[in-house]
Each structure stands twice: as structure tokens, then as C-alpha cells.
Symmetry: C2
Subunit: 390 residues, 2 copies
């Protein structure tokens, strides 16, 4: 093979408006490439502490055990299950999309007794059904807060009370919701959760923000069997990230990725969480209005939409994959197709972090008009009107 | 907290001569910060394919299943065990340092019947003892090729034959050996192995190069029970990395880290593996000669040394942690202390990639002389003589 080609092959600038990764701001890329220092170097310990403090602010939690796992968002699922679910545990799981299905898979691998409470893809699971299923003996109630496969946000009302009544843990996948959708971890009574860096945080993929509260840690401590995974053993990870005594080496954490995450979280803090949530809401509504002009209707029902991900139905007779290819190749814009039963039927458009703004959305609307063979004027006007209205 | 402080806190340039991370060349840091593209973008698929091809060249393997896991080196242990060891499997394991102990832990978590064949820390495990322990019914024979806690390289002679005779897999931790110590994966008959990016490859931590051959894949296919970890399920990972049919999304891989790894591997290919191995050997011997002048004797026995990691005994009465602190704070040089039973007794000095060169070693020798209160002249002369001798 030609190594020169391997090292110099140009990477195009893409506008990342798919389901993630999302656009990475220059400040974050710049942080990523700062000099690598050691994982036990006091200057790096400071970076770690700042990252954890910023993560707590972003999750709105006081959980001491808040830090990034050294793997991508999806690994958070393995970590949750590994630490908080033992073989034979009765677990109530909300399933209304691919990421719920994956949790179901991960739980089955862990030997859990999984009680699935389902809704069709495109709807949230009714909280009443989840509460009812959380009967005596339930050890955990697990939901996907932001279902990236459908663009649906799972309501959480009443779930914490139901879980506490049964001495169950409330656990959540917050990969696509963190910093883009209102989420107050402690107020919602979520005992442990994970996220990803490449969605609303606008950081490259590679880390999974993770948090666990006292009830979850007590469950871990009470386990009679050691967790099956060494890499995701929370007790060992905490011995490195937030030691009570001497910091104990577990693995060499992804140092440069942590620089980037810290920078990305600082951008969130500078904007302010509530401002950021509101910006995502406006951006979602504006893009929804614009795409409706082309007949692209949102999949999620009103009140159940996940602001960071707008899934729209592709009109009958449109070859969605071909048009997505043209968006990428002719316009440099990435959007995502459907997964599972929605493959071929929907486009999934990211409204994440810096992507949740007028300019990138206008570029998308113009490009979509071009590949659909439509006039962009009315859609752009709708976009502008919505952005200007606030 | 002060976010401005969080984002602008200066990171010093460190000379990383510890047990890893190792020094990261500018080309690799530059690659790390290239524009993020999507994980399904055709331009990224090309990057993935190049990375895998370069990894095969570096491992000296023709294994199709060769790619980086989306987690740090230590995760390779979980991945090996998750895919190739089932509960109840009899596994022969070489243990002569921390990383052997960790494999023992990971195997116990997986429910394996672990047969430990041990040597004292600082020696390799005799291959005869490993071969003898590989009795009928053994399902896997596992070794740590480069034991980073002691600087010992495990001989592999005869292990592949012994494993094949019993229909056992030969599995290896190659974290610190890959590209720094002679290793020909296919020729050695290793069925599956993992490594890390932050050792001899000079890439930041965050990925675990992984490879598995046909015998290992057949074992995986014959399993009656699905692997316990979803994140490290090799069948799913291969569906994304090297699909036989349509590429199937599993998780969003660490895109920018993969750019960096590709660049780091291109640097290895440009130098040539044999030249690189020889350079590491020379660098190890040169530094060993120089440190001997200060009375710092190598822990590893002749013929068992791991070239990328020189562990030396700290003289009686020396407060090793204090001197390491001074090396870091006054000279900007990181070296590592001892682990487990060797804590306080050894220094572990990395001889990894671009760190395996005269200039960084001379800086270390001068700094060590300063903190030890010694004249550097004789040690520098020894270093120069060894480097000049070739």
C-alpha cells in the first residue's frame, strides 16, 4: 500500500447534521491536539477534576461519581448493566427504538429478567405503563431519555417515585439529550446515566460521560458477585477518577480526548444550560417548519420530540439513500437515514450544539431543495421567520 | 468554578519517558485535529481500511479481523476474554507481573478455570512450565508478551505448538511490545492479541489495536452462549469494521483518534519494522549502559528484557518518589515508579518510539544526574559510545 497516500489523503470539511458526530468547533479540535501529558501528572489531574466538575454542571447533578468512561457513548450501556444489574435481576425496560432494543440485548447478556414495556417506533413509552410494570421485586427501571433512532424524548414524570417505592434504580441513556434537551438529573431522580461526546456536546466521539448517585453506588457495594467486566468496573474506575485515598492506576485514560471534552463542556458552561436548551428547542422548531414546506413531516408526536434530533418521514417514491448521497457528495452535508423498521422511511437530522443554528440549517434547506428539485424560497422564509420570531 | 481557567490552563511540554503515554510526534497530533467526518462517510471508510492494513503490517499478520477497539489498551483484555473464553473454560495463564495478574482477574470474572503458571516479578515464565501446564482440555493459553510492570518480554517458543496440540488458543497481551520488540504474530502462531496506542506507536491513548485469526474466530462462532459484553462483541464489531456484506452500524468509533492512529502507523511503516525493532534494542542497551554508571541496575535478566521498557532498581536509601517528582517538576521529564510488590523499588523508563533515541535519553541522563547529585559525564559518555557504536 501507498503510505504517503494513507497519510495525506485529504479529509473534506463536512457539515455534520446527521445523528452524530456533530460539528466540532475549532476550540475543541485545538484542545484535542494539545501536548499529551501523563495520566498521573498533577497538571492532568487538574484537567480531570475540571472535566468532572463541568460534567456535574451539565448533568445538573451533585454526584461525586461523575466522569467520562474511556470508550464511546454506547459503552455506557455496558457500564450501567455491568455495575448495577446482577444475573436474575428483574429489570423494567422502556423500548421504543433501536437504543431501547440494544439495552434489551445488553441486559439479556447480563442474565437479567427483562420486562419490556414497548411503544411503536416514533412514540414514547407511556409513563403509566412503566410505573405499573415496576412491581415488587423490580431491581431497575431503565429508559432511553433521547431515542436517537426516532427523535423521541422519553418523559420521566413519576418514574423516580415508582422506582424508589420498589427500591429499584432508575437508570437512563442520555446520549443524545445531554445539554440539548432539558434534563436535570438529580431533580428527575435518575440514579445513574451515561451520555456520549459526539452529540450535543460537539466533541469528537471517544468518551462516554457517566454519572452515578449514592443509591446506585450502594447497590454496587452490596453486590455479592464482582462485576463481569474489569474495564467497566466502577469501583476500580472511581479509584482512579476520584480516589478517597491514594489515586490508583486502572488504565491509561484517553488524555487528549479529555482535553477536548473539557473544552466542549466549557463551551456549554459559557452559554449556560437553559439558554442552550432553549436554543435547541428553537432550532428544532425552525427546521421543522422549514422542512414541512417540502412535505417532510416530523415522526415524533407533539410534546414527545427530542429537540436535538429531528426525524422526518421521507415522501413516498423518494429514493432517500440516493438523495442523502447527493447531499454528502454535492453539498458536503451529512444527514442520517432510518434504522431498523424505519430504514428507507425517515431522515434523521441532527440539531446538536453548534449545529442548532440558523446558518447551518439554511445551508441544509438550500441543499435539500436542490436535491428534491424544489424552490428553497418558502422553506428558507419559514426558517428565517421562526429564528427571527424569538 | 472559573471556566476561563478551565479552558486556558496551560499544559506544559513534558518529555514522556515513563511507562506510557510516550512522546507524540507533531504529525500525529496534527492528524488528531483534522476535521471530524461521519463514521459512515465513504472518506472515513477509506481511513478505516488504511488503518487496518497498516495494523496488519505492524502485527505482521494476515488476519482479516484486525482493527482498533474503541477503548484504551487495557480494554483489549476484556475483549479477548469476552470473545474467546466461556465460563468453565480451562485457561493456562502466565503470571509474572501486574498485567498477568489483571488477566487473572478478568478471567476469574468470566468464570474461567484459571491455571496460573507463575514466575517472580522481574523474570519471564519458563515456556517449559507453560507447555507442561497446557494439558488436555485446555481451551486457551494466555501470555503477556511485554510485561510493562517489570520490563520483561515473555518468550513464545513452542507455545503455539503446545496450544495447537490441545486445540487451545494462544492469546497475547502485546500492549508494550507492538512495533518496539520483535513480534511476528502469524509466525509465532498467536491466535488473537491486543495492544495499546500510547506505547511504541507514539499515539495518544484511546484505542486498542486488536487482531484475531481464523482459529479464534471459529471458536467464537462455535460458542453456544452470546458474549457477555455488547460493546466488545467481536461479531458485531466486525460487521462494522470489515463487513462481508453491508456495513452495519455498531457504535460511533473514535474518528479523530483513528486519524491519529493511522498517522502513527504510517510513521512505523515509513521507518520499517525491523529497523524500528533494532533501534529500540540499541536505545535500550544504550540507556542501560548509561544508567549502570549511576548504579541503576536493570531488573530483567539478560535475554528476557523488554526493549521498550527499562525497569531499574532504585538504590537503597533513595526516596524514588521524591526524585521522580523533581524530574517532572524541575526537568519536565516523566518516568514511572514501580507497581505492586515493586512499588518504591524500581523506576520504569520508557524506550518507546520517538523516545528511543539519543537526544531524549541524554536529557534524561543529565536530569537524573542532577537529581541524584552525580556528575553526568561518564553516563553521557556511555550513552554516546553505545549510540555511536552501531
Amino acid at each position: 500500500m501507498d503510505h504517503a497516500a494513507a497519510t495525506t489523503s485529504a479529509l473534506p470539511e463536512r457539515l455534520l447534521l446527521g445523528s452524530g458526530p456533530s460539528p466540532v468547533p475549532p476550540r475543541v479540535l485545538e484542545a484535542l491536539s494539545r501536548p499529551t501529558v501523563g495520566h498521573l501528572d498533577p497538571v492532568f489531574v487538574e484537567v480531570m477534576d475540571e472535566t468532572c466538575a463541568l460534567l456535574r454542571e451539565t448533568f445538573l447533578t451533585r454526584n461525586r461519581a461523575t466522569f467520562p468512561l474511556s470508550a464511546t457513548g454506547g459503552s455506557g450501556m455496558d457500564a450501567l448493566v455491568n455495575n448495577f444489574v446482577a444475573p436474575g435481576d428483574r429489570v423494567v425496560l422502556a423500548v421504543c427504538g433501536l437504543f431501547g432494543e440494544r439495552l434489551s440485548d445488553a441486559l439479556a447478556r447480563a442474565g437479567a429478567d427483562v420486562v419490556r414495556v414497548e411503544a411503536e417506533w416514533g412514540r414514547a413509552v407511556p409513563v403509566e405503563a412503566l410505573i405499573e410494570a415496576t412491581s415488587a421485586g423490580t431491581r431497575a427501571l431503565i429508559v432511553v431519555h433521547g431515542e436517537t433512532s426516532t427523535g423521541v424524548c422519553q418523559p420521566l414524570d413519576g418514574l423516580a417515585d415508582a422506582a424508589r417505592e420498589r427500591d429499584a434504580l432508575l437508570l437512563a441513556d442520555c446520549v443524545t439529550s445531554l445539554s440539548g434537551q432539558p434534563l436535570e438529573l438529580d431533580a428527575a431522580g435518575i440514579d445513574a446515566a451515561f451520555s456520549g461526546t459526539q452529540k450535543c456536546l460537539n466533541c469528537p466521539p471517544g468518551l462516554a460521560p457517566f454519572t452515578a448517585g449514592e443509591r446506585a453506588l450502594a447497590r454496587l457495594e452490596a453486590r455479592t458477585e464482582v462485576p463481569r467486566s474489569w474495564y467497566f468496573d466502577l469501583s476500580l474506575l472511581l479509584g482512579f477518577w476520584m480516589p478517597e485515598d491514594k489515586r490508583a492506576y486502572h488504565h491509561t485514560v484517553p488524555i487528549n480526548m479529555i482535553y477536548a471534552l473539557r473544552e466542549a463542556l466549557a463551551l456549554v458552561a459559557e452559554e449556560g444550560l437553559e439558554t442552550r436548551w432553549e436554543r435547541h428547542r428553537r432550532a428544532h422548531e425552525a427546521l421543522r417548519s422549514a422542512l414541512a414546506v417540502f412535505g417532510l413531516e416530523r415522526l415524533a408526536a407533539n410534546g414527545e420530540q427530542l429537540n436535538p434530533l429531528l426525524a422526518v418521514r421521507v415522501p413516498e417514491g423518494v429514493d432517500e439513500a440516493a438523495l442523502r448521497g447527493r447531499l454528502l457528495n454535492e453539498h458536503g452535508i451529512e444527514i442520517a437515514g432510518g434504522l431498523g423498521p424505519l430504514a428507507g422511511d425517515v431522515w434523521r437530522i441532527g440539531v446538536m450544539g453548534v449545529g442548532a443554528a440558523f446558518e447551518p440549517q439554511a445551508r441544509l434547506v438550500e441543499a435539500l431543495a436542490a436535491v428534491l428539485g424544489r424552490d428553497p424560497a418558502d422553506a428558507l422564509a419559514a426558517l428565517e421567520a421562526d429564528w427571527g420570531a424569538a
